[in-house]
Symmetry: C2
Subunit: 109 residues, 2 copies
DNA sequence: TAAAATACATTGTTATACTATGTAATTTGT
DNA sequence: ACAAATTACATAGTATAACAATGTATTTTA
């Protein structure tokens, strides 16, 4: 078993799965970045580095798949709450379809 | 629907799925590169560019997940037939486990 | 006999995960 | 009371990989 290759592979696999997972989670609820990391870790055991998530959220925002609004806290740093857009929902559905297709394909080999 | 983003996403998803698919296909049979492209297209409808596959095979070889042997043809250009190694089989199994896990996780969100 | 297909390969471009680092406020532990 | 940890944002640099474009050489097809 090539453990090192496997880890590198998982990192590459994340390039496809992370945007999908983030959009999925945001289709259920609004979250702010720091919280998303913890929520996804709790939900999936997948650890997303901050240096991965924040740029990813910026990209999703630039693509109009999510929007955000700053929410002041009674105490502490203000939070940037992200929500999925209609375009984000439609794109997520297309991603779901493709995922189902690729999963079926892989299982069949 | 953000079609352009979806296509970019599929390209990123391939960074995880292609090595997995190639190893899976090679776990059933030996193939040469050019043939693998056609075989995978037939099996999965997924089109792999030559500029993607050849470097990928080089990487899998460098990681000892596959080996190859040149086979002269009665006519035509000699073919580099690839076969999966024992280390490749074990790593593929670990990849299968991870895939099952990530698929289950994604379905559950 | 020109065009398409077979079969290998590399270079340059673009995209993205991850580590390291930075800022600033707040909370916790001692 | 004060140092350390946590919360919450963010960016710069590095490594990796898909893909288009291009290249070489042989063989088959129209």
């Amino acid at each position: 078993m090539n453990e090192e290759y496997k880890n590198k592979w998982i990192s590459q696999l994340k390039k496809g799965t992370l945007p999908f997972i983030v959009l999925s989670v945001l289709s259920r609820n609004t979250y702010y970045g720091y919280d998303l990391i913890n929520e996804i870790k709790k939900l999936t055991d997948i650890v997303i580095a901050e240096g991965t998530l924040y740029p990813l959220l910026v990209r999703l925002k630039n693509e109009n798949l999510v929007s955000y609004s700053w929410v002041e806290q009674e105490s502490g740093i203000p939070r940037k709450y992200y929500q999925i857009t209609e375009e984000g929902k439609d794109t997520l559905n297309a991603m779901k379809d493709y995922w189902t297709y690729i999963n079926t394909t892989i299982q069949s080999i």
